[in-house]
C-alpha cells in the first residue's frame, strides 16, 4: 500500500503539493508514482524563473523504464528546484515526500492550493487505478 500523507494535496497525475509558510508550494511525485516508475536515473528540472500554467509539463522524471512528464499543479513561477536530484535522482525513490522534492512554485492565485485534491480523494483515485 502506498504512503499518502494526510497533510499534503495531490493531482490526478500523481504530483504532491505542500503549502509553505510564505505562500509558495513545494511539488514532488507521490510514493505511488515512484513505485510505478521504478528506479529513477535522471530528473530534468524546470529553471528558476520559468512560469507555467496549471497542466503544463514542466519537468521530466526518467526511470530505467520510461521518461514521464511532471505537470505543473497550479499557475505560477518556479522559485527553486532541488539541485540534489542532479546527482542523486534516487532520492525520489527513497524519500519522495521530503528529500525527493522537485521544485518550489509561487502560485499566481494564493487560494488555488485549497482547491487541490486531498489525501483521501487521492487514496481513492489510486485504489481505483490498481
Amino acid at each position: 500500500m502506498s504512503n499518502v500523507p494526510q497533510e499534503l494535496r495531490y493531482t490526478k497525475t500523481h504530483e504532491w503539493i505542500s503549502l509553505n509558510e510564505d505562500g509558495s508550494v513545494t511539488v514532488g511525485i507521490t510514493d505511488h508514482a515512484q513505485h510505478l516508475l521504478g528506479d529513477l536515473v535522471f530528473v530534468e528540472l524546470p529553471e528558476v524563473g520559468d512560469t507555467f500554467a496549471e497542466g503544463d509539463d514542466c519537468a521530466v522524471v526518467e526511470s530505467v523504464k520510461a521518461a514521464s512528464d511532471l505537470y505543473c499543479p497550479l499557475d505560477g513561477e518556479i522559485i527553486a528546484h532541488n539541485e540534489a536530484l542532479a546527482d542523486a535522482p534516487e532520492l525520489i525513490n527513497q524519500d519522495p515526500y521530503a528529500e525527493g522534492w522537485i521544485f518550489k512554485l509561487q502560485p499566481d492565485d494564493s487560494g488555488a492550493y485549497d482547491a487541490l485534491m486531498d489525501a483521501d480523494a487521492y487514496s481513492e483515485l489510486i485504489a481505483e487505478q490498481d
Binding site: 536515473v41 535522471f42 509539463d57 526511470s63 520510461a66 521518461a67 512528464d69
Partner: protein, 465 residues
C-alpha cells in the same frame, strides 16, 4: 522464404480478423485531398537483366574520371579489407536487428565506433550515427535549442562558410519549429568569419555554428569564435571533417571550454563517393547534454555473470517510449556505413589517419601551386587551408569545367550559384589519392583550355610581327 513475409492469404486472414474488407479501408480516415494519386514519375518495373545493364551504364558515366571536386564528399583510398569485412554476412545488414542485445557483435562495433568518434573529436560521448552530414547539422540545431535553457530565442547564427546544402537542409528541417537560421557573412579576403567583425552585443541567440575547415577549405579562428559564443550564453555547434581532425585541434579543445555539440559527414571514413550516397552523419557532445542527443547510444555494461556486454542505453528519450515527446524522430543509425568507418579507422589507426590528412593537405598545396601559375587563374583567400581552396578564373567557369570534363577531369565545383559575389570561382580539392602526374594532367589540360578559350574570345587576330 519470400522476402515480403505477407502472402495474399496472410493479408486476407489479418483483414478478416480485424473486420476490414481491404487494405484501402485501413486508410479511410485520411482525407482524399491529402492522398497522392499514384506515382506517375516512377517507371514500370524492369527485370534483373535490364536493371543490371542500366546500372552498369549509369556507373560507367561516373568511372574513370580524375576527380578534383570535394565540397562535402571526398575521394579517399579505402583499404580492400574495409568492404571485404563490412559485406560479410554477420555485418551486411542496414539495420540493427530487433532485440538489439541479441546481436552483441553489432553493438560492440557501434560501441567501438562511438569511442573512436569521441576520441577523434575530444568530446565525451558520441551517438551511433545519423543519416548524413546535412541532417546531422539539422539535428544539432534542434538539440541546441533543447539543450540551451538559458536562451529562449530559437535564433541560430549560421555562417555563410557552412556548406550551402547543409544550410538548406537544416533550414528545411527546423524552420517549422520556429527556429531561425541567421546568416553571418564572411570576410572577403580571408574567406572566414572574422572574429573582429562579430557584434559586441549580438542579442539573445541559442547557438553559433562553426565549420572547420569551412566550405571554402579555409580554417576558421575557432578559439575566438567559441569564446565569443560562450560569453554570450550561446552553445557552439562544430561541423567538422573527421579526416582533418587527425591534424587539427579537435572541437572539444577549441577556446576556453570547447564546442558543445560536434557533427559532420562521415563519408570520408571508408565510404566510396558512389554518386552521392549512402553516407552517414556523426554527432558527439558533452556528457551534460547526452539526454538531449538524438539517436541511439550503445553502452558497455556487465551481465549477471560479470562478463562484458553491450546494450542500447538512454532509450527512455526515444520515440518508442516518449512518442511525440521523443528527443527526435531519429530512432536508428547508419549501421553498414558505420561498420565500414569503424574498420577503416581501426586499419589506419591514429598515425595512419594523420598521414592521410597530411597527404591531403600537401597534395592540395601542390595542386594550388601548379594551377596558380596558369594565366588567368588566381587563388582567393589568404588564410590557412586543409585540403580545399577557392580559385578564381578570368574565364567563364562553366565553359572551363565543361571542357575539362570532356577530357575526363572533374575540375572542381562551381561556386557561381551560391556565392555569386565571388565571380567565376570554383572549389578544388586534392586528397591523398592524387599523384604528381594527376596534378600535372589537370594543370596541362587547364592551360590548353584557358589558351583556347582566351583565343576564341579575342575578336581580332593579333597581327603577326
Amino acid at each position: 522464404m519470400p522476402f515480403i513475409p505477407h502472402t495474399d492469404n496472410d493479408v486476407e486472414d489479418m483483414l478478416r480478423a480485424i473486420g476490414a474488407d481491404s487494405i484501402e479501408d485501413l486508410f479511410a480516415e485520411i482525407p482524399a485531398k491529402l492522398r497522392a494519386e499514384g506515382l506517375e514519375a516512377i517507371p514500370e518495373a524492369i527485370n534483373e537483366m535490364d536493371i543490371s545493364r542500366l546500372m552498369r551504364e549509369r556507373a560507367d558515366q561516373d568511372s574513370r574520371t580524375l576527380c578534383f571536386a570535394g565540397a562535402g564528399a571526398y575521394e579517399h583510398h579505402i583499404p580492400a579489407a574495409v568492404w571485404e569485412l563490412t559485406t560479410r554476412g554477420e555485418f551486411y545488414t542496414a539495420y540493427t536487428p530487433y532485440q538489439a542485445e541479441a546481436s552483441q557483435g553489432t553493438l560492440q562495433l557501434l560501441y567501438e565506433y562511438q569511442s573512436m568518434m569521441a576520441s577523434l573529436t575530444a568530446m565525451d560521448v558520441s551517438n551511433a550515427s545519423l543519416y548524413d552530414g546535412a541532417s546531422a547539422l539539422a539535428e544539432a540545431v534542434l538539440m541546441a535549442v533543447r539543450a540551451n535553457r538559458k536562451s529562449k530565442s530559437k535564433r541560430i547564427l549560421m555562417p555563410r562558410t557552412v556548406h550551402p546544402d547543409y544550410r538548406r537542409v537544416a533550414n528545411n528541417i527546423v524552420r517549422n519549429q520556429g527556429i531561425v537560421l541567421e546568416e553571418l557573412d564572411y570576410d572577403r579576403s580571408g574567406g572566414h568569419i572574422d572574429p573582429d567583425s562579430l557584434p559586441a552585443d549580438p542579442g539573445d541567440f541559442t547557438a553559433l555554428v562553426i565549420p572547420q575547415p569551412n566550405f571554402f577549405g579555409v580554417l576558421e579562428e575557432v578559439d575566438a569564435l567559441v569564446n565569443w559564443a560562450h560569453e554570450h550564453g550561446a552553445l557552439v555547434i562544430a561541423v567538422v571533417n573527421p579526416i582533418s581532425l587527425a591534424i587539427l585541434t579537435p572541437p572539444g579543445e577549441w577556446g576556453e571550454t570547447g564546442a558543445d555539440i560536434v557533427c559532420g559527414e562521415g563519408q570520408p571514413l571508408g565510404a566510396p563517393l558512389s554518386s552521392g550516397g549512402p553516407y552517414f552523419g556523426f554527432m558527439c557532445c558533452r556528457q551534460s547534454f547526452v539526454r538531449q542527443m538524438p539517436g541511439r547510444i550503445i553502452g558497455r555494461t556487465t551481465d549477471l555473470e560479470g562478463k562484458t556486454g553491450y546494450t542500447l542505453t538512454l532509450q527512455a528519450r526515444e520515440q518508442h517510449i516518449r512518442r511525440s515527446k521523443a528527443t527526435s524522430n531519429i530512432c536508428t543509425n547508419q549501421g553498414l556505413l558505420v561498420t565500414a568507418a569503424t574498420i577503416y579507422m581501426s586499419l589506419l589507426g591514429a598515425q595512419g589517419l594523420e598521414r592521410v590528412a597530411l597527404a591531403c593537405h600537401e597534395n592540395s598545396m601542390k595542386l594550388l601551386a601548379a594551377l596558380g601559375e596558369t594565366q588567368g587563374v588566381s587563388k582567393l583567400f589568404n588564410r590557412p587551408l586543409f585540403h580545399e581552396a577557392v580559385l578564381q578564373f578570368d574565364l567563364p567557369v562553366a565553359d572551363v569545367m565543361r571542357a575539362l570534363s570532356v577530357q575526363g577531369i572533374i575540375g572542381g565545383v562551381s561556386l557561381a550559384e551560391d556565392y555569386p559575389e565571388l565571380g567565376n570561382s570554383i572549389l578544388i580539392c586534392a586528397t591523398e589519392t592524387k599523384t604528381e602526374a594527376d596534378i600535372e594532367t589537370y594543370t596541362a589540360s587547364l592551360k590548353r583550355i584557358a589558351m583556347r578559350l582566351t583565343a576564341n574570345r579575342c575578336p581580332v587576330q593579333p597581327k603577326m610581327a
